[in-house]
């Protein structure tokens, strides 16, 4: 039973493959054109004897859909004259041409697919959209496979029985969260804390209903309840236990009205950490004022949470995550003053006696809870109010059921629905009614079937033969690209009017969506996956006391944000591609200003900051602390990791993965102690298996030697470092003599540099085309779900030529790809 599904699948695949190959068997062009060419020019290195780079051609006998990307690569190398290598016999121009044409023709004939499943992120957005509930459905889904690192790749979006069983469970939760005719049910716990005089009485009605409240619970009449940490870096917590049965499922809705209060100037903002049933729900900066408070609404699915016998636990904590100084209070940082952190900014922990000072005078910011509502058994009325869909004459009849079903299907399928398409789902509703299910229950069953259907799960291809479906497919593709969510009203309207192949309309939509804050649904996942930002960031604890560790979590998050915010800014302002590498600005918030040693900034949001002219990092993502730090987490060989990362993501020169049998370079080995990294790498390169790649990787990696483990600038390095790690906390101490940092290196085509600044200038001068091509190739994978084929690469080359003189403005490039046949299909 365990193996048979696989076998069945294998049989089906084999059967399908047989069908295809027999259909193509009349085509003997492979033996006539390609085999002789491969035999003469390629087998020597990629044949039965040798498989350089793991490629072997002698077993290929025809064009197979699965080899698509291999042929794209062969085409590129052949066309550029990179293969066969110059030292080998070269084919004639005619021979070369005939193979190139063969690849182009066969790819075009077999490559008409663009349908793919929604990934975990997208399906969560689609479920939120169709139900109107703000639940994080993705948390219950398994992660997806990737193509070239991206979760949108069609080949990565596989299905397994476990995944589909989970899909059933999640879609059931989604439909169980909404109601149609049923009245709102369930208890509501609510408290307006502004009007309460005595903290002990504030929650009396709750307690009468079985709820429990724990915490300091200081009430300021007229203001609200204070969440007041004792000191920076500490937190104050308010706990609620709301009685629900341990077996309860469904949705809990939590509504908070909060504002911030800062007794004195110069204090950072608090962050409110919301935890429900042991799960982190939110971690947001509180900036609202008493008059204009923030309203926070959370809907959480109870099924996955820990429910205690007393009920579900809701925890609100106020945290201050930025070290700061307060005039008039002593600095409690006991770090060695001779060993200041780079940038010269100390950490302050004001000493004070909280017994003496009333809350208004405490040098800590606090969060004021003005109002709290908890609905432990929330079922949302559907359709959501914002849709402004009809809700009059709602009654228990077939017509009403059909109206609601149409509304649901068109939203879920992201396109109009025909009566024939609707029929089976309506039939299911009627069948369930006959089985004595209620109106709501039967409709939920039918709705769930819609969520399991193909048009919800799969994105249609924009070259779908049905013009209406094709237009809406473009709307979906555009919207899942730029918002990470289903199309909004305007995109649906434009698709309905058939306007989404008009270049001007598309350009206007790109401008509109990139101006919308929802653009983070595009930029965040794209940049994170492009630059592999998921890797842990290392904060070395080398000269600071424990404060460093306490604030580090927020620093790490901010370091990652810097890169995302920087690229967001480049896109929104349509900056030229060179600014990815060189600029005079970056994005900073309060803690990054401290980390980089800049004048203090207020608030956790990132804003554009002009760099000091003497800042040796300069602008551009390569100087971002987050990037340089994350490339150190795997160990001491960061020259290699940083070099390889740069080749992969910046220079479009990906090195192959290291061969398995090669031992790792270990600088902490007894015989390696005290040697410089350059010496060690020379030693490593003596192994011929390593030299092939390391001769390219290592010289690039030396460009970043000015960045320490935490991504801060350094001018000297120690003879060696001892590095200890426990629970993600890194202690990193330089040992021995110091020496100036060694940053001499070489780019893949042989250009030499001596400093980080020279390195960046060389990239801008000599490798800008590589940088842009690499970025665009990744954008194409992300947007279409497939690696670019030969025809896509041709279109891309044309686009790049068009924008070369303008310096490759990034938003224009994005628009050009969206307007092209790469994105819109034939």
């Amino acid at each position: 039973m365990k193996i048979s599904p696989r076998w069945r699948l294998a049989c089906i695949l084999a059967f399908l493959l047989l069908n295809v190959s027999s259909a193509l068997s009349a085509d003997d062009s492979f033996e006539k054109v390609v085999t002789p060419f491969l035999k003469r020019y390629c087998y020597a290195c990629h044949g039965p004897e040798k498989q350089t780079a793991g490629i072997r051609y002698d077993r290929i006998t025809s064009y197979q859909a699965g080899d698509r990307d291999l042929w794209t690569m062969v085409h590129a190398r052949l066309a550029a004259g990179e293969m066969p290598p110059r030292s080998r016999p070269q084919p004639t121009e005619a021979e070369r041409k005939s193979v190139l044409t063969w690849i182009e023709e066969h790819q075009r004939a077999q490559d008409a697919s663009g349908t793919r499943r929604l990934n975990r992120r997208e399906v969560a957005a689609a479920l939120r959209d169709v139900t109107g509930l703000g639940i994080d459905y993705a948390s219950a889904f398994p992660g997806d496979g990737t193509v070239a690192g991206f979760d949108t790749g069609a080949d990565g979006l596989q299905d397994t029985a476990d995944g589909v069983a989970q899909w059933m469970q999640v879609t059931r939760r989604a439909v169980d969260g909404i109601r149609f005719l049923e009245p709102a049910a369930g208890k509501v716990f609510s408290a307006d804390l502004r009007s309460v005089k005595d903290a002990r009485q504030a929650f009396d009605p709750w307690k009468a209903n079985g709820a429990q409240v724990r915490g300091q619970a200081i009430v300021r009449p007229g203001l609200g309840m204070l969440l007041q940490p004792r000191a920076p870096g500490e937190s104050d917590t308010l706990n609620f236990s709301i009685p629900v049965a341990t077996s309860q499922q469904g949705v809990l809705r939590l509504t908070l009205v909060v504002s911030a209060m800062k007794p004195m100037n110069g204090l950072p903002n608090s962050r409110l950490w919301v935890e429900v049933g042991g799960k982190d729900i939110d971690y947001c900066e509180v900036t609202g004022t008493f008059e204009k408070p923030q309203q926070l609404v959370y809907e959480v699915q109870l099924d996955d949470l820990a429910i205690q016998p007393k009920g579900i636990n809701i925890q609100l904590s106020n945290r201050v995550e930025v070290p700061y100084a307060v005039p008039g209070f002593a600095n409690e940082d006991r770090s060695n003053p001779k060993d200041p952190p780079p940038g010269g900014t100390g950490l302050f922990r004001p000493a004070f006696d909280r017994k003496v000072l009333p809350p208004e005078k405490q040098p800590v910011p606090f969060v004021v809870l003005q109002r709290i509502d908890i609905e432990p058994n929330y079922v949302a009325a559907w359709p959501p109010k914002e849709w402004k869909a009809e809700s009059s004459d709602r009654k228990d009849d077939a017509a009403c059921a059909q109206r609601l079903l149409t509304l649901w299907m068109e939203r879920a399928w992201r396109r109009p629905v025909t009566a024939a398409e609707q029929e089976p789902f309506l039939a299911l509703y009627h069948k369930l009614r006959q089985q004595a299910l209620s109106f709501d229950a039967a409709l939920r069953g039918s709705f769930q079937a819609v969520l399991l259907s193909a048009p919800f799960r799969y994105l249609a291809a924009p070259d779908h033969p049905d013009a209406t479906i094709a237009q809406h497919a473009i709307a979906s593709r555009l919207s899942f690209l730029l918002l990470g969510a289903p199309p909004d009203d305007e995109l649906r309207r434009l698709a309905g009017a058939g306007k989404l192949r008009d270049p001007a309309v598309l350009d206007a939509q790109v401008d509109r969506l990139l101006a919308d804050p929802r653009r983070q649904g595009f930029i965040r996942p794209f940049v994170t996956q492009w630059l592999e930002l998921e890797q842990p960031i290392t904060i070395a604890q080398d000269h600071l006391q424990k404060q460093d560790f306490r604030f580090a979590r927020y620093l790490k998050a901010s370091m990652r944000e810097e890169t995302i915010a920087y690229i967001t800014q480049l896109l929104v302002e349509n900056r030229p591609a060179r600014e990815l590498i060189v600029s005079d600005w970056t994005m900073m918030n309060d803690i990054l200003a401290i980390h980089y040693g800049y004048p203090p900034l207020e608030g956790g949001y990132l804003r554009k900051v002009k760099l000091r002219p003497d800042d040796p990092r300069g602008g551009g993502i390569l100087g971002h602390a987050g990037i340089q730090s994350m490339l150190c987490w795997m160990g001491d060989n960061w020259v290699i990791y940083r070099g390889a990362w740069t080749l992969r993501h910046i220079l479009d020169h990906p090195p192959p993965p290291p061969p398995l049998e090669v031992p790792e370079l270990n600088p902490s080995d007894a015989q390696n102690k005290g040697k410089t990294f350059r010496e060690l790498l020379k030693q490593h390169q003596q192994d011929a298996r390593c030299a092939v790649c390391h001769q390219t990787i290592d010289p690039v990696g030396f460009a970043f030697q000015n960045f320490d483990l935490s991504g801060r600038w350094r001018d000297v390095e120690y003879e060696s470092y001892t590095r200890n790690e426990l629970d993600g906390r890194v202690v990193w101490v330089g040992v021995g003599k110091t020496r100036p940092v060694d940053t001499i290196g070489r780019l893949p085509r042989g250009e030499e540099f001596k400093t980080f600044a020279e390195f960046k200038q060389l990239i801008v001068k000599e490798y800008q085309t590589d940088l842009v091509r690499g970025l665009m190739k990744r954008l194409i994978v992300y947007a279409t779900g497939r690696k670019p084929d030969v025809a896509d690469m041709k279109t891309l080359t044309a686009i790049m030529e068009e924008y070369q003189t303008k310096g490759y403005p990034l938003r224009d490039l994005l628009k050009a790809v969206i307007r092209s046949r790469i994105f819109l299909g034939q």
Binding site: T246, A306, A449, L726
Partner: protein, 449 residues
């Protein structure tokens, strides 16, 4: 579908510990196994919190003729049924002791910064994936309800599976509902799921017909997966239709006599485990025997009095107080007494399983029991003391003390060995390098997967 709690209909009564020793042999069990091709394989993992007393735990010598350690005395009569494994590690010990409930069974290098705990699947859940189908895929027990440090099990995504410490909740969840109305409700839900899937499959096939070759393949994979899900629904329905196993429900003790007795809690849970295995309602169990910092069970006071240690909280005992760190440390002695109690509980469980006949042997021969935790000296991931018991018919060779050089043998190797002997088609687990051959008997001794 969710079996609702209905504690009034099912009367239970208080019962002394002594009355629990033998459960009536279950007829239904015999029927179930007769129809099945092979005896079901089972796994139960028990975690010792707060570090063990290593002076009393590690036998001084290795091999088959090793001297039994003081903590293992209660297991002496079962000497041939278990082995002691020393110096198994996770991630070369690069993780501190406080996170061990999180990674004991996962081997993951987890980060304890609040809000950023990441983890991976635990060994028991890999087993649960392959050992079924049963009414419950696995049973996750603990000293306290909840997730985090209370549970040992993490699902395929590394998400905590909530544990339960309540005997009644365990009992209610363990069996299909007794109530006809509830069975009907569960059956109706299964029927509804089927209808929903049918409608969806119809649509997918419709859409598929209009697609090109590559796209058709993608939808094929989806259809294939749906077929597997339908098969699971059928399995569940079959179990539901077989109904609740018949046994003397009144005889099951669900109320502890003492309020805060550690041994009683563990024994009551172990009785439920025996019941679960015997009725074949689940084949995989994890049980965290206590927390790193409490609960402060009554026994600690008694042990402290006996050892001459000051009476204090469990966490403080785990830290062994201050000063003398040798074998005479009174706090350490308290831990030793506690470890001995754990072994006594395990011995009692093994005796019970041994008394239940199974195909060509006893239930113990088909059940793998793992008792382990972190150790108190370094309190790091360098050495997880482990005691492996049972499963002789699954190919285990017991009665030995195996010891490796520190930091050389990943605990994942043991987990891989266990999974493979349970018949799970896995070739690796986390850091595993290969199965531990020393633990395995000759091929002809074991019935084969």
């Amino acid at each position: 579908m969710n079996p609702k709690t209905n504690s009034i209909t099912r009367r239970t009564f208080l019962r002394g510990l002594g009355g629990m020793l033998a459960l009536p042999y279950l007829e239904i069990m015999a029927e179930a196994t007769a129809t099945e091709e092979r005896e079901p394989r089972r796994l139960a993992c028990f975690y010792i919190p707060g570090g063990i007393n290593h002076y009393n735990w590690f036998p001084p010598d290795t091999g088959f003729n090793y001297t039994i350690a003081p903590s293992h005395k209660p297991l002496e009569h079962l000497r041939d049924e278990f082995s002691v494994l020393t110096n198994l590690s996770h991630i070369q010990g690069r993780v501190s002791g406080h996170v061990h409930p999180y990674n004991w069974l996962t081997g993951h290098n987890i980060n304890l910064t609040p809000g950023t705990i990441t983890n991976t699947i635990s060994m028991d859940q890999v087993a649960a994936k392959y050992l079924g189908p049963t009414w419950l895929p696995s049973l996750v027990l603990s000293f306290a309800d909840g997730v985090g440090a209370a549970t040992l099990s993490r699902n395929a995504l590394g998400v905590d599976i909530p544990a339960t410490a309540n005997y009644r909740t365990v009992f209610e969840r363990l069996f299909p509902p007794a109530d006809q109305a509830q069975i009907k409700e569960a059956q109706a839900r299964l029927a509804l799921d089927r209808s929903i899937l049918d409608t969806a499959v119809g649509n997918v096939k419709d859409v598929q017909r209009r697609l090109g070759y590559t796209d058709r393949q993608r939808l094929d994979q989806y259809l294939e997966s749906i077929r597997d899900v339908e098969k699971r629904l059928a399995d569940r329905e079959a179990i539901l239709n077989r109904g609740r196993p018949k046994f003397d429900e009144e005889s099951v003790c669900l109320e502890p006599r003492g309020k805060s007795r550690m041994q009683e809690h563990i024994e009551l849970m172990m009785d439920l485990i025996v019941l679960a295995f015997q009725t074949d309602m689940t084949r995989v169990v994890t049980h965290s025997l206590g927390g790193e910092g409490g609960p402060n069970y009554e026994e600690y006071k008694e042990w402290a009095r006996e050892a001459g240690a000051p009476v204090r909280g469990a966490h403080d005992f785990h830290h062994k107080g201050t000063g003398n760190r040798g074998a005479d440390n009174p706090d350490g002695k308290v831990l030793g007494m506690r470890d001995r109690m754990f072994c006594a509980c395990l011995a009692r469980l093994m005796d019970k399983l041994k008394a239940i006949p199974a195909k060509n042997g006893t239930l113990l021969d088909y059940t793998v029991l793992l008792l382990g935790g972190s150790q108190v000296t370094s309190h790091s991931g360098k050495s997880f003391p482990m005691l492996l018991a049972g499963g002789k018919k699954l190919g285990f060779r017991h009665g030995q003390h195996l010891k490796w050089k520190p930091d050389t043998k990943p605990a994942s190797d043991l987990y891989l060995t266990i999974l493979q002997q349970l018949g799970c088609p896995v070739t690796s687990f986390k850091e595993s390098t290969g199965p531990i051959s020393e633990l395995l008997g000759r091929v002809d001794e074991f019935s084969g997967p």
